[in-house]
């Protein structure tokens, strides 16, 4: 018991320190400059976040897919905020081995990862290639119609 107690500080120090956690505090992003069909990349907690203003075509393509046929089944509705369906906010890190996928590329008008060829659709869900999971959606909420807070 004593050994474990002695060992714990040595292990715990490896976890993110207070300054790093503070730097990871929530950020606000203004969405008004992002036109339909455009996307921007912001950084939060050292990770790139894609904020995409999807066209009607992209939303439709995302919603007509049978959810059961997906590798990581998730409906498009579950990945966006109700009433703000055109806004897709995803962490731009490929769930395969961590490269940054390129937006508006690939067969699904979503994201294409150049490292090993994973392809995500316009909802950021994995459709093709070695990645196992969909692009994660970070915690965010709409503080107004044109502003979101990530984190």
């Amino acid at each position: 018991m004593g050994t474990l107690a002695t060992l714990w500080p040595f292990i715990s120090q490896m976890n993110p320190d207070a300054a790093t956690i503070a730097a990871g505090a929530p950020i606000e992003v203004d969405l008004s400059p992002v036109a339909e069909g455009q996307d921007i990349k912001v950084f939060w907690r050292g990770k790139p976040i894609y904020i995409m203003n999807r066209t009607k075509k992209q939303i439709e393509e995302a919603r007509t897919v049978a959810v059961d046929s997906l590798r990581d089944p998730q409906s498009d509705e579950a990945r966006v905020k109700a009433g703000h369906d055109n806004w897709l906010v995803v962490i731009g890190i490929c769930t395969h081995l961590g490269c940054i996928p390129i937006a508006h590329e690939g067969n699904y008008d979503g994201f294409f990862c150049p490292c090993h060829g994973s392809q995500y659709d316009s909802s950021g869900r994995i459709r093709q290639g070695p990645a196992p999971l969909n692009l994660p959606v970070p915690p965010y909420q709409f503080v107004s119609d044109t502003k979101i807070q990530i984190g």
């Binding site: 292990i11 490896m14 976890n15 993110p16 320190d17 790093t20 990871g24 990349k41 950084f43 907690r45 050292g46 990770k47 790139p48 395969h96 081995l97 961590g98 490269c99 940054i100 150049p114 490292c115 090993h116 060829g117 070695p130 196992p132």
Partner: protein, 687 residues
């Protein structure tokens, strides 16, 4: 079995020490009188080579650590400052970087020797397992060391490899956060990797001590795989093995020197001369060559967790080798079937290494899967099977008999060469790259190419003029100080000229005693100022693309040479991809893209820029810059001269490097020759 321990020093002072710490007896017993089999071949010198390399890496590493700064904002620059400003810093850095590759090359030879001659068999199982532990520690050390320069490959290689641990179910993500010390690879990660990279080599040294101890308990193996039976089978370690090891080390050093002085970037990746950028992933993330076979195995398995398990298993399977291969005959010399499978295994490893560097597309994926199966099949199917069914050839009665019978037989080197030729032939037959080949820039002729290459002073001075009048409007040159223009091996300006040149520039300085920033004329110690105050301003002024700093551009841009060119390049010392690329870009603009190709608005079509759409408008036109020495005022001339200047900017010590290299080479060749003749003399009585 340690050697006879009846050594007693005669000098009273030494006797005094010996009574309190019998170190001389120990060294004498272990490394002087120690009986070593007399039939060892040169594959047995790699143990000494490895010990030498470990010491070399530690010494160069500790010295580099005196100048390196392990902070994400400062690391890249600190490495460049070591190379540029620290006395012989370029030499120390090259020794350490090339040394890592040489260390791994030697360890692979050492391991393959063990595989071929059954060095892992009873009673050397623990010796073998200690070796696998050393190998694992080496891989961890090498991985962390590569992250330290904080280039693009450093950062993204770290991201990919630390992400592997997220494959572990349930605790994976927490482990990765623990390793990172943050939410992504960042400064905490770099700092701890530096600490561990400094620590691990000393752990390796400790395990090496155990490894040598275990070796001395069992005694060395030998090519016949027959135990030592009498004194006739052995010779004292000193002078026989010592001189052979020294000869082996000196030949190895010649290869080492080739990399240090003439091909320092051949085994590296050009992308690592670009500072780490978390927002931009390089097109191809490739680990260092010594990890490539395992990288290929990792990518062969479509499932993330299974791929990670396969990759680690590929190394762990080595631990079980003594129990997988239970054949009584140790050496493959007497196992005709095992011998053939051994060489097939070597080819499998080489091919897996080749595949690890290719993009995971098309035929490369299929080949990778087949070869992964071959790799595991060798350990899990072939060796156990052969233990049961193979009939070995009859062994010699003793080591002494083996030595007498050996007269006139071909050296083992021959079979190695044949294997390598077969491997080369297999490469030749393999499919072409699945990627569409971008046009590669034509090769220009450079005054600094080759072992005796020198910078053309005139070209350097004209190139500086082109930079100052054209490029410096958008591109910074932040690693070059005005004083560098007067350094030997460069444009060759005098002190007065560099002072005058510096004073033409306005440098921001301060705060003064009133707390305000002010401008003052430049001094030789100042660096070339950047045209923009920060990256965002640079982007805004250039259509969203920041013009890169040009200090390292000649080393951070490259293109594939393909097979078999990259093999010839090693011997011809071709390493001018960067300057060829620069000339290609500067002369490769076309007014209209070819039919059917469209490029985004605001871009320009360039033949050699990857993707063909570059944000930089054509910067050079004929007559733009006039040269005082009357050289032609043409785009081709400008491009050639500025590329020469930029090569110097990237590698200011090149001339010194090549000069010292020639001296070292001559010395090593003479030294190796002396060692060889001494060896022959020492062994004359033993054969």
């Amino acid at each position: 079995m340690s050697g006879p321990s009846d050594y007693q020093p005669s000098h009273p002072a030494l006797k005094w020490i010996e009574r309190r710490l019998p170190i001389m007896n120990f060294v004498y017993g272990s490394f002087v009188a120690y009986p070593t089999p007399r039939n060892l071949n040169y594959w047995w010198t790699f143990g000494a080579i490895l010990s030498f390399m470990l010491v070399a890496q530690i010494v160069t590493g500790v010295i580099l650590a005196m100048h390196y700064t392990p902070n994400a904002d400062l690391a890249f620059r600190s490495v460049e400052l070591v190379v540029r400003d620290v006395n012989y810093g370029w030499l120390l850095r090259n020794m350490h970087a090339a040394g890592a590759s040489m260390f791994f090359f030697a360890v692979y030879v050492h391991m393959f020797r063990g595989l071929y001659y059954g060095s892992y068999k009873e009673p050397r199982e623990v010796l073998w397992i200690l070796g696998v532990i050393i190998y694992l520690l080496m891989m961890a050390t090498g991985f962390m060391g590569y992250v330290l320069p904080w280039g693009q490959m450093s950062f993204w290689g770290a991201t990919v490899i630390t992400n592997l641990f997220s494959a572990i179910p349930y605790v994976g993500d927490s482990i990765v956060t623990l390793l990172w010390g943050g939410y992504s690879v960042g400064n905490p990660t770099l700092n701890r990797f530096f600490s561990l990279h400094y620590l691990l080599p000393f752990l390796i040294a400790g395990v090496v001590g155990l490894h040598v101890w275990a070796l001395h308990v069992a005694g060395q193996g030998n090519p016949a795989g027959v135990d030592v039976k009498s004194e006739k089978d052995t010779v004292p370690f000193t002078p026989h093995a010592t001189i052979k090891d020294m000869f082996g080390v000196s030949v190895f050093l010649i290869l080492f020197a080739w990399f240090i002085f003439y091909m320092p970037n051949y085994l590296g990746d050009a992308d690592n001369y670009i500072p780490a950028n978390p927002g931009v992933t390089p097109a191809h993330i490739v680990p260092e060559w010594y990890y490539l076979p395992f990288y290929a195995i990792l990518r062969s398995i479509p499932n993330k967790l299974a791929g990670v398990i396969a990759m680690f298993s590929a190394i762990i399977v080595l631990v079980f080798l003594p129990w997988l291969d239970t054949a009584k005959t140790r050496s493959c010399k007497y196992r005709p079937l095992a011998k053939q499978f051994f060489w097939l295994f070597v080819i499998t490893c080489i091919l897996l290494g080749y595949l690890g560097a290719q993009p995971p597309e098309g035929i490369y994926v299929i080949a990778g899967r087949i070869l992964t199966v071959c790799y595991f099949a060798y350990f899990l199917i072939v060796l156990p099977l052969l233990s049961r069914i193979e009939t070995p050839r009859s062994l010699p009665n003793s080591i002494a008999d083996d030595v007498l019978a050996k007269a006139g037989k071909a050296a083992p080197m021959v079979s190695t060469v044949i294997a390598l030729m077969v491997a080369g032939g297999v490469f030749l037959g393999s499919a072409q790259s699945a990627r569409a080949a971008d046009e590669t820039p034509p090769s220009q002729s450079w005054s600094f190419a080759g072992p005796f290459g020198k910078y053309d002073r005139g070209a350097l001075q004209r190139g500086l003029k082109v930079y100052k009048e054209v490029c410096s409007n958008c591109h910074s040159l932040s690693y070059i100080a005005f004083r560098n223009l007067g350094d030997p091996g460069g444009p060759g300006y005098s002190e007065a000229q560099t002072k005058a040149l510096a004073s033409e520039y306005k440098i921001k300085d301060g705060p003064n005693d009133q707390g305000e920033m002010f401008e003052r004329p430049g001094r030789p110690a100042d660096y070339f100022p950047s045209p923009f105050p920060n990256e965002q301003a640079a982007r805004a002024a250039n259509g969203g693309a920041a013009p890169p700093d040009l200090s390292l551009i000649a080393k951070s841009r490259s293109y594939e040479r393909g097979f078999p060119w990259f093999i010839f390049d090693f011997f011809t010392q071709f390493q001018e991809q960067g300057p060829n690329y620069i000339v290609g870009i500067l002369t490769g603009f076309e007014d209209k893209p070819p039919a059917g190709v469209s490029i985004p608005d605001g871009s320009y079509y360039n033949k050699y820029f990857p993707g063909h759409a570059i944000k930089m408008p054509k910067p050079l036109s004929d007559g733009q810059v006039t040269f005082d020495d009357g050289s032609p005022a043409t785009v081709q001339q400008y491009a050639h001269d500025v590329a020469t200047f930029l090569m110097w900017a990237a590698e200011p010590h090149m001339e010194e490097r090549k000069k010292l290299g020639m001296q070292v080479f001559i010395f090593l060749i003479i030294f190796a020759g002396l060692m060889y003749f001494t060896k022959k003399k020492v062994w004359a009585d033993a054969h």
